[in-house]
Amino acid sequence: MSFKYWIKGSLTLTLVSALGLAAQQNSTPATTPPVSTAVQKQPPAQPQSEGERVFQQNCWRCHDAPEGFSPRISGTIVRHMRVRASLSQHDEQVLLKFFNP
């Protein structure tokens, strides 16, 4: 691919990255995205659980987190996403705990 095009591509990437950093500067602390209807948000005073960390680090990467789902399918979702996103077995276990405290 010609050099000129790569330059254009990298410039675009740099521009959007700069936008990202700018946005990061004035961002608010992480909020828990909506999860299982049966799972309530952790009160902010509690330290972040391992499951919440894995959730926040992974569940917004490919798509928005679902607005809510029945706890009866939480295991199915987590297994499906373990395969699709190549999550570790440990991630699967802590996510399941996070969805079913």
Binding site: Y5, Q24, P29, Q89
Partner: protein, 353 residues
């Protein structure tokens, strides 16, 4: 409109759909050992319209997904695509031409053999770069059409038939390395169609930085054997509402890249505020021909395109997608206008007690 589902020869797999429905009937008979492992039905639907060089096309689409765990180590998953298309007849044919496809996209069994190894068997999505496996469902993509380079590396269809080994090779709080390796056999029949080929993907994810880098390779093993190379970089800077995704791919006859950034205006009251639901999207893409043999679905001449989108995320998993694109090539510059509404559904396959 370049959804791969449209580019792929319609695999009118009534048989596969029957399998999908049969699975729905049979699965309730299986024993579910855990209260959390009920099979689910999910997926998305959309009504898309695209005005390309003055012609408007309409595409209603539904893509149901079924995921059903069996015991502790197996997951059966499948997706079908029901797509209608209405396009202007033009010239001697007044009115609209209507066509429809029903296609099964994948139907696979995943066996979680070891903590670091999952064995996949069946008809699966080819794990080349990211678009095919991650962004193609209508409720996920930020633009209604896929990137111009998306057919590269998909072995002329998007699905493989055979086996795949995949998993997480190493994970710590700071790094995660994953891999996928597949071998697909050739099948010419309409249902479970596939080409012979092999390849894989390796990726590194840094969870703290939310940064992922991956490399893909695959090789078509029928007809003229061709190699495809891919690389991608994804970044979702923490707590910003910004996602940056990019991919480059090189095939035998053409190559190209895309870079996309989408931003949820969550700084104005969070994701669920009226303004936080607004999502501007920008994508830049380019394709370059290496020769004039056109077998890969990419534009016939070098093409550059800039897409500007504005999406709105309503409550209840409904999303409006709008975009304007300007496409530049030696055969003429064009405007592409797209608007659509997409929704997502998710529920247990049957009612609880």
């Amino acid at each position: 409109m370049q959804r791969p589902t449209l580019k792929i020869a319609p695999r009118a797999s009534a048989h596969a759909i029957r399998c999908f429905l049969l699975a729905l009937v049979v699965l309730p008979l299986a024993q579910y050992d855990s209260a959390q492992n009920t099979p689910l039905i999910s997926g998305g639907g959309a009504f898309f319209t695209s005005t390309n060089g003055g012609n408007t096309n309409y595409y209603p689409i539904t893509e149901p997904v079924l995921a059903a765990p069996l015991g502790q180590h197996i997951l059966v998953e499948s997706r079908a695509s029901l797509l209608e298309s209405f396009s202007p007849g033009g010239g001697s044919q007044p009115g609209y031409i209507h066509s429809h496809f029903i296609a099964e996209s994948y139907l696979q069994g995943d066996f979680l053999a070891l903590p670091r190894l999952t064995i996949v068997a069946g008809h699966y999505l080819i794990p080349f770069n990211t678009y095919n496996e991650r962004l193609s469902p209508p409720w996920i993509g930020n633009f209604q059409d896929g990137p111009l380079i998306s057919p590269l590396g998909l072995l002329q269809g998007g699905s493989g038939l055979g086996g795949m080994l995949r998993g997480n090779a190493f994970a710590s709080n700071k790094h995660s390395i994953s891999y996928a390796y597949f071998y697909s056999t050739r099948r010419n029949a309409e249902e479970f169609a596939a080409h012979r080929g092999t390849g894989g993907r390796a990726s590194l994810y840094l969870p703290e930085q939310r940064l992922e880098l991956g490399l893909s390779y695959d090789r078509l093993l029928q007809g003229t054997h061709e190699n495809f190379y891919g690389a991608y970089l994804w970044w979702e800077p923490k707590d910003t509402g910004l996602r940056v995704r990019s991919e480059a791919a090189r095939g035998h006859h053409a190559q190209g890249y895309w870079v996309e950034a989408d931003y949820r205006l969550k700084a104005f009251g969070g994701f669920d505020s009226a303004i936080g639901r607004i999502e501007p999207v920008f994508r830049m893409q380019q394709t370059l021909r290496r020769d004039t043999i056109v077998s890969d679905g990419l534009p016939l001449v070098n093409t550059q395109r800039a897409d500007f989108g504005l999406d709105y995320n309503f409550p209840h998993n409904i999303r409006i997608l709008t975009s304007y694109a300007r496409q530049f090539s030696s055969t003429g510059n064009r405007n592409v206008w797209e608007t659509g509404i997409a929704y997502r559904f998710l529920f247990p396959a049957w009612k609880g007690k």
